[in-house]
């Protein structure tokens, strides 16, 4: 394939793609597109069989103007496997819960009559504003033609031929884009540090070590639009004067890794990466390094050690990586989602970007909604959008009519936000002001069945396990926090324990070496702050109101029992037996032997719904 050597040649390539293999992406396309979400979740839910069935049926019916496109994640994970149907000049509709059979029906029934009971009522993406995810679910991520057809690599061309190095840095500074990995450091400023450094060799790194449990936007971007991130890294390399870029990506994301390798090879073949990019003399080589399962490697100095083949322990700062990073050389490190914003900013300008979001935090943020919420998935919203809009409007509220209790943001580094703050607009400052943080954008919704002490313990278990062990406050302090929480959830805590949690948590925050330790106590401190009563019930009454702390729970059969024995037959440890007491219907009242009960909860749903004789105490 011929290399692209100028903006004119890029435009020619784009027009050829729009007239050829990427025809369905043209504005005046008369083709009906059937998209099949084929990111990790889609494939796990069976998308491959659906894709084949759709293709087969289209062929069988001899439909010329229908095209089936494998694409990345549309963010509507709750509806997987998901098919999106876009007819010319119409809003797209989504079909959910598809099997290979219904896939055939989409072609034979929906395309002909416009009806089908598998079509979701909500069209399009609602109030979302998609910048980082703008191509996810729209293009085929395995084809560079598709990316170029929607304007890809034009930002790189503009940077190389019009803006120049200083111009790119200025535009990025003006845009006020802040790091989407969680800390929110201004990206333009970081790039300027690199730009001003005279060292001849520098590095660009993309942090794709998305270890925050419950966050998966980086995976979705890399699986659904890999070229977007490659282009941004090349722009960063040009601006700071680096000829080498490295992806540090989790080994747990095999599909993303595969797509990145393919994308790099495609871009190199066209001369959009590698040597003498677009004939401008700028060289930029990208490589991929796999992580090996250590949460702390998301911390940028730990990541550098890991790239050097060492244990992923953080370094003392200063010197900052922009001064002395990988192999002691200046290194600029940004997160995947941060990069995903860059090409759009360069193409459309900082002023456009600043028109979205809030004054201090322009742009959007992708949130991964999970937990007790109807529409589990990714949403991209302008900064400042309220939690209520995110949970109820985009997330569709909580399932089973349960009450909203809290939302956890920022993963193991963040905190739990109670219902009273649900109307708060979300940005870096507002979340920080109530003891949580943006983090990478995971949002876990919790309902009345979730115990806040148990959740705090869950996160501490995680940070304790993931602490690298280099500094004492984090290694020992977090272990002590966990032990105290463990005591409380087992009904052995006291009020003094709660005071100790607060004091110790503050010490760990103030004295730990890196971001992991600095933020590890947040889940504890925020739950103690907002849900103190729940802690007090645990330590004073030795009860868990949510019924989640199993050691404090007792399953008891009340006198509503009708003696049917269903519970006894379903008890895995055989600890439910009839008593001597006769019931009005002549059968015997049953009872649970508390010494043998393993609190599995198996009996509770088995008791007939009209009777509900089993309760949790």
């Amino acid at each position: 394939m011929a290399r692209i050597n100028s903006l004119a040649e890029l435009t020619a390539y784009k027009n050829a793609a729009l007239a050829g293999v990427s025809k369905y992406l043209a504005n005046d396309s008369e083709q009906t597109i059937i998209y099949v979400g084929m990111a990790t979740c889609g494939i796990a839910a069976g998308a491959e069989a659906i894709f084949d069935a759709l293709n087969d049926e289209v062929k069988k019916q001899g439909l010329q103007n229908v095209v089936v496109v494998p694409t990345g994640c549309a963010g509507k994970c709750y509806a997987e496997p998901l098919v999106e149907i876009k007819k010319p000049n119409a809003d797209s509709v989504f079909a959910s819960g598809i099997t290979a059979d219904t896939a055939r029906k989409i072609v034979s029934e929906y395309l002909a009559n416009g009806t089908g009971d598998y079509i979701l009522p909500n069209k399009g993406y609602g109030k979302q504003v998609r910048i980082a995810l703008r191509n996810c679910g729209i293009i085929d991520p395995t084809k560079i033609e598709d990316y170029i057809a929607v304007g890809g690599y034009e930002a790189l061309a503009k940077a190389l031929t019009q803006l120049g190095r200083g111009g790119v840095v200025d535009e990025m500074k003006k845009s006020l884009l802040r790091g989407r990995g969680g800390a929110g450091f201004p990206t333009g400023l970081k790039w300027e540090f690199g730009y001003k450094n005279d060292e001849p060799k520098k590095y660009i790194i993309c942090n794709a070590d998305e270890g925050d449990p419950g966050a998966f936007m980086d995976r979705s971007i890399l699986e659904g639009d890999p070229h977007n991130v490659l282009e941004a890294m090349a722009i960063a390399g040009f601006a700071v004067g680096a000829a080498e870029g490295i992806f540090y990506i989790r080994a747990e994301y095999p599909l993303a890794v595969e797509r990145l390798y393919a994308a790099i090879a495609q871009a190199e073949e066209l001369g959009l990466l590698g040597e003498n990019i677009m004939g401008t003399g700028f060289d930029f080589k990208l490589s991929i390094s796999l992580g090996a399962g250590a949460f702390v490697c998301g911390e940028e100095t730990a990541l550098l050690n890991s790239l050097e083949g060492k244990r992923g322990e953080p370094r003392l700062r200063p010197p900052f990586p922009a001064q002395k990073g990988l192999w002691g050389l200046p290194t600029i490190n940004n997160n995947v989602e941060t990069y995903a914003n860059v090409p759009a900013i360069i193409t459309r300008g900082a002023d456009w970007f600043k028109s979205i979001g809030t004054e201090k935090c322009p742009g959007t943020k992708v949130f991964a909604l999970a937990g007790k919420i109807n529409n589990v998935g990714l949403v991209e919203v302008p900064m400042g959008t309220s939690l209520r809009d995110i949970v109820y409007e985009m997330g569709g509220g909580l399932p089973n009519g349960k009450a909203f209790k809290a939302i956890q943001t920022g993963g193991p580094s963040g905190g739990c936000i109670p219902a009273q703050h649900i109307d708060m607009g979300v940005d870096y400052e507002s979340l920080g002001s109530i003891g949580s943080m943006m983090g990478s954008g995971g949002m876990i919704v919790m309902d009345e069945d979730d115990c806040m002490v148990n959740i705090a313990k869950f996160y501490l278990d995680f940070t304790m396990e993931e602490s690298c062990g280099k500094c004492t406050p984090c290694r020992i302090g977090n272990t002590r926090l966990y032990e105290i929480l463990d005591r409380i959830t087992k009904g052995k805590g006291s009020e003094a324990d709660i005071e100790q949690l607060k004091e110790l948590g503050q010490v760990i925050k103030n004295t730990s070496l890196c971001g992991l330790g600095n933020s590890a106590p947040n889940p504890v401190l925020s739950t103690v702050n907002f849900f103190l009563n729940e802690y007090l019930t645990h330590v004073n009454d030795k009860k868990c109101p949510a019924g989640a702390c199993k050691d404090m729970v007792r399953y008891v059969i009340t006198d509503k029992c009708i003696g049917c024995g269903i519970c006894a037959r379903n008890c895995p440890v055989n600890c439910i037996h009839p008593t001597q007491q006769t019931l009005p219907n002549g059968k015997f009242l049953h009872a649970i032997n508390q010494d043998q009960c393993v609190k599995c909860g198996e009996c509770l749903p088995k008791c007939p719904p009209k009777i509900k004789a089993i309760i949790i105490e």
């Binding site: 990790t40 796990a44 419950g214 994301y253 992580g291 250590a294 790239l307 244990r311």
Partner: protein
Amino acid sequence: MNDLTCFAELDTFIDALPTKKGALISVLHKAQDIFGFLPTEVQDHVANKLDVPASKVYGVVTFYSFFTMQKKGQFRVNVCLGTACFVKGAQDILDEFKKELGVDTGGVTEDGKFSVDALRCIGACGLAPVITVNGKYYGRVTKADVKGIIAEYSSKGEEANG
């Protein structure tokens, strides 16, 4: 594949590296791909080839949770314990696997057929709770599904052996 060919394959990989500087982790990834786990003999071999102390190799292997020094089962069950899976009952699923297979987390069944591990978030939160068996994903798993999943592989194992 016997040990000799395994070591030969690993050596080919190492000799083809553009530089040995900083290559330890990618070499260990490759070694675990080939051997299935990283026993001390493999670690010593890597240390010699890369000219780094064996203690450093051991330090790295034990630091990263992806690396294991224990041989895994023929079928590796991984239960995701990310937050989304946790609030949807992943702990119960893990307990059920442990109960049904009679092993602890990280353990291998006596016949070497199954191993059970807890995994860090695999980012498929939309399908929570999620488990994988030898890389194949199972979404929205319930406690009742566990026996069926085990049975699916038990019979496969017999076919393979028989």
